[in-house]
């Protein structure tokens, strides 16, 4: 099987972030500012990603705006021909910064919101006034003529507000809304008991999205990232290990998935010493779960082996204790019962206080 090119580069420019979302997908062990790659290194990475065939770069973190050299990095990505997508909390997205980023060639801005009700949303973000800042930033993005996506991570505390979240995305002038159920990695896994919605709540949310999609067709694109725990078959995590996306962490480690650093037994190459192309083609961590030959039993020979690629390695590790097993979310997995057990335990538990994300754990 020939090796496909990555479609996208997920550039985690920093782990610094003014917010403290308890569902943050960053690892518990966050990289400090002193360990971050500099703009020169990122410039090379952008070119190497484009040479490798990538078309999108997602500038993410942490909060990318905490970097003063962000415009320089955007410019480098743009020069390399990549479609630049800024994934931001909008804290720090002043009109001046936006103008500067647009001039550097920014294509698209994705602003995350923590809910529709300002007080409750700010409580989840662990930041007073976050919602107000986001609303103003969204207005500037639209005024600059840039495309806007609103990303709403939904969970136990805000899933019932989904209709208002959809209204808000429209009102703010977004062309696209991403409704993403929490995926339980990193900080989200530590907070699972406070975040997991019930199956009924999830099903209601799915109906709300379906209805809104029809009603708003042509005005608002709604992408719905459904929660793995309520599925019968897993998703192709990252489009398959080492198939579509290459992640570069703030310190330069290249990962097949942003959560991969939490898996035991894998060591990752660093873009400081190796080109992205060498890493993509030969690195042992990228080879480890690539394709189908590594697969265990129900996956081996399964008709969906090249559809979902056996699901998520991090989920297999979190739920079944072994990253090389079939994702327990799959009903064919011998460990499938662990999912139901986790749901039962977490949704029955009284709401646990959040452990807010912060550097130093």
């Amino acid at each position: 099987m020939s090796l496909p090119s990555p479609i996208g580069l997920l550039a985690e420019l920093t782990h610094r972030c003014p917010l403290g979302c308890p569902y943050c997908s960053n690892p518990i062990d966050l990289v400090r500012a002193s360990g971050e790659l500099d703009a020169r290194a990122w410039t090379r990475v952008m070119q190497e990603a484009a040479d490798l065939g990538a078309m999108h770069v997602h500038l993410s973190g942490g909060e990318p705006l905490t970097r003063n050299d962000l415009a320089e990095i955007v410019n480098a990505a743009n020069v390399a021909g990549l479609y630049t997508n800024l994934i931001t909390s909008a804290i720090g997205l002043t009109p001046q910064r936006l103008t500067e980023l647009k001039a550097a060639g920014l294509d698209h801005v994705q602003i995350s919101i923590q809910g529709a009700d300002p007080a409750r949303a700010d409580a989840v973000a662990h930041f007073k006034g976050a919602m107000k800042t986001k609303r103003e930033a969204a207005r500037h993005v639209v005024e600059e003529g840039l495309a806007l996506t609103i990303n709403a991570v939904v969970h136990r505390d805000n899933i019932r507000d989904l209709p208002q979240i959809i209204d808000l995305a429209q009102e703010w002038g977004a062309g696209r809304l991403e409704v993403a159920h929490v995926q339980y990695h990193g900080w989200a896994l530590a907070n699972r008991a406070g975040l997991m919605p019930s199956r009924d709540e999830f099903q209601t949310a799915a109906q709300v999205v379906e209805e809104a999609r029809e009603r708003l067709s042509g005005d608002l694109v709604i992408d719905h990232v459904i929660p793995d725990y309520y599925g019968e078959r897993p998703k192709a995590c990252m489009g398959g290990w080492g198939r579509q996306v290459i992640v570069v962490a703030p310190d330069g480690r290249a990962l097949p998935c942003h959560a991969a650093a939490s898996l035991p037994g894998l060591t990752f190459a660093n873009v400081k010493n190796k080109s992205l192309s060498e890493i993509w083609k030969d690195d042992a961590a990228f080879q480890r779960y690539r394709g189908t030959s590594w697969m265990p039993k129900p996956c081996q020979g399964c008709e969906r082996a090249e559809v979902d690629w056996g699901g998520c390695r991090c989920q297999a590790f979190a739920l079944a204790g072994d990253a090389s097993l079939t994702d327990p979310v799959c009903a064919l997995s011998p460990n499938h019962a662990t999912v139901a057990a986790a749901i039962a335990k977490d949704t029955a538990a009284p709401r646990a206080p959040y452990r807010f994300r912060r550097i130093g754990g």
Partner: protein, 84 residues
């Protein structure tokens, strides 16, 4: 028949080689005809102008071309790639 002026939605652009539309989190491969139609969408041309231009280029009747354009544009608009 209405005659709108289609243009790429904000945040949508052609990939460097012209064969794909890039949008946030999405890529759309365009066949040859779709590529020519999209290349004509400059935000000033109406659908009838585009049909006239392509009718020359492909030496095909305008009414036939017009059908292809209407179908493509309706599809791209519903998917959020194009604004009318």
């Amino acid at each position: 028949m209405t005659d709108p002026t289609p243009k790429l939605a904000p945040g949508v652009r052609l990939h460097g080689d012209g064969s794909k539309l890039l949008a946030p989190e999405r890529i759309l491969e365009l066949d040859e005809i779709a590529q020519s139609i999209v290349r004509q969408m400059d935000g000033t041309k109406r659908v009838s102008d585009i049909a006239a231009a392509l009718s020359k280029e492909y030496n095909e009747r305008e009414s036939v071309i017009r059908k292809d354009i209407d179908a493509l544009i309706a599809d791209l608009a519903a998917k959020g790639y194009v604004k009318l």
